[in-house]
Symmetry: C2
Subunit: 336 residues, 2 copies
């Protein structure tokens, strides 16, 4: 996960990000304004936090087309697989990756505190050192316990809520709508596989076996009372950029038919998914809401969406405007 | 997959294996003789090809205990995961691994025929060369198409049936019984991930995303009209021996509660699975039926079960006697 993280690390000095503002949730669209009937098996309005508009319509039309028997675009249930990036797509990546906040806190707890600005100045080697110190050298169960405890206690630096409150409510609705339409929903993250697994089931309803992510080498050891899987200080797989189709193939073995991302690190995944035969859906979350979240795209080295803004119209991918398309943003901070 | 294959390669000279004999299937046990009531949701006799005895009883008792609400050993549905080795556990590995037969046929089709005895004499380097020539240098879809076509046409050298007819009927029943009890069933094979995926769904009802196996490096390429995943001539992961718990963790992320294998290459998997808390099931298929299949264990470098015969009683694992426990052997050759 190093190149991706470090690319974005530059912006971390920019912690002078505007406080994440809020505005009142817009009223839900009337049911009569729904652009497409939801697929059978779904509630009448499966996307209540979405404003009427092309993004909402596109998602519902896609689900309707692939699940309607007799539709020329009907897809059998076993081929209904949808993949979702995590950071910036399912939850906030501002003011820094949640996993990086974990690493910094963990370093502090270990008595080897790292200064964020200093880390940025020292580049890749320092970041690798931080991840090695904080993410390896223990067994898989001990690591999961560390993450679980940290998530329960840590608070977002400005919003003062648990990080898990910063899942995007509209995307939780998308996950639920896809599952109601018979899809298996997968996370395909540049973040750590064993980090994301700790909260994916509770937060997103996605079980550990449907998470694809970056990983370190693990080694099986059976010398003590019980066998263990030890996390070694060596990167095994970087699930970002061109790594995402590779990770998808290894874990899923079938090409998904829908993909959601938010940065240039997701473009290979969207391309792989949408270049297969039949109806496909590729969507990019565009962080254009400076009032309720943070507005960033082309010029941001952190969660950068640059090439994607060019490619989206050429490839037929949809851009989700957080400002226009989402009536609510967060799962936990604005009430149901 | 090299060390494991080559270890076993030595025996391949022993192609003078007895013709796989058959004997009439024993009568099904009367329902009244069932040692345990099957879990609810299952047919009255979920294991009709199993003879009454400790193995059958143990499997049914396990399923009953973990699925009975209120039972002290009850396991919630999302934790019900069972893993199965493939070669020698779900289908025959005699007179050689099916995947090796594919490699030899493929080499012949490419005009670089390899003599089996010669291959054995030349050892690891020759085997690596064979696998590189026959399994890499194409994209993932082309490879799957090659395997699919080969499986449709190839015939077992002595039985003259498609290899897929040599799945073990009793194990197909076990897979179905576990699924009826709410389990997800996974293959964890030392063989090639993308080889086994081609037939796992049709033959075993196991979808591609529930196969864990050995893999070569794949590379994402998007330079032509459509993106491709290219199979590179480099081993990525050997899913055998201590690799099995590692592969299980990476793909599943949760410790399974039941495991079936047949060779020393499965012992780390059984140990990992059965050393977790709560009721666990570890079973080893013992190839002791010289009349209907091939009898081999300790002295066989191919599918060797040596250390496992010592460990099974110490670890509380069950040994399945093909001769005593299985009333029928094959899925395809003896009729329903």
């Amino acid at each position: 996960m190093l190149p991706a993280l470090s690319r974005r690390l530059v912006l971390m000095g920019a912690l002078l990000l505007p406080l994440l503002g809020r505005r009142p949730a817009r009223a839900r669209p009337a049911l009569s304004a729904l652009p497409s009937a939801p697929p059978s098996g779904m509630p009448p309005d499966p996307l209540p936090s979405w404003s009427p508009g092309p993004s909402r319509e596109r998602i519902l039309s896609f689900l309707h087309a692939v699940t309607t028997p007799g539709s020329p675009q009907f897809v059998p249930a076993d081929e209904r697989i949808a993949v979702f990036d995590n950071d910036g797509t399912l939850w906030s990546e501002q003011p820094m990756y949640v996993q990086l906040a974990f690493a910094l806190d963990r370093a502090r707890a270990l008595g080897v505190a790292v200064d964020r600005d200093d880390l940025m100045a020292r580049g890749n080697a320092a970041l690798l050192d931080l991840l090695t110190r904080t993410h390896t050298g223990m067994d898989t169960e001990a690591f999961a316990a560390l993450v679980r405890r940290w998530l329960a206690e840590a608070r977002h630096p400005t919003l003062r809520v648990p990080y898990t409150a910063l899942a995007y409510r509209p995307m939780l609705e998308v996950l639920a709508a896809f599952r109601a339409a018979g899809f298996r929903t997968w996370i395909v993250t540049g973040g750590g596989l064993d980090f994301v697994r700790v909260f994916a089931e509770r937060l997103y309803g996605i079980p550990p076996e449907q998470v694809v992510g970056s990983s370190v080498v693990t080694r099986y050891e059976d010398s003590g009372d019980v066998p263990r899987l030890l996390r070694e200080p060596r990167l095994e797989f970087l699930d970002d950029g061109p790594g995402k189709p590779v990770g998808i193939h290894r874990a899923i073995g079938r090409r998904p038919i829908a993909a959601f991302g938010n940065s240039d690190g997701d473009l290979a995944m969207l391309r792989w998914v949408t270049s297969g035969p039949g109806l496909r859906l590729g969507m990019l979350v565009h962080h254009d809401d400076a009032r309720r979240e943070v507005a960033y795209d082309r010029s941001s080295p952190f969660g950068r969406l640059d090439r994607g803004l060019e490619e989206a119209p050429k490839r037929g991918w949809g851009l989700i405007s957080m400002r226009e398309d989402w009536a609510r943003i967060y799962a936990g901070s604005e009430g149901p």
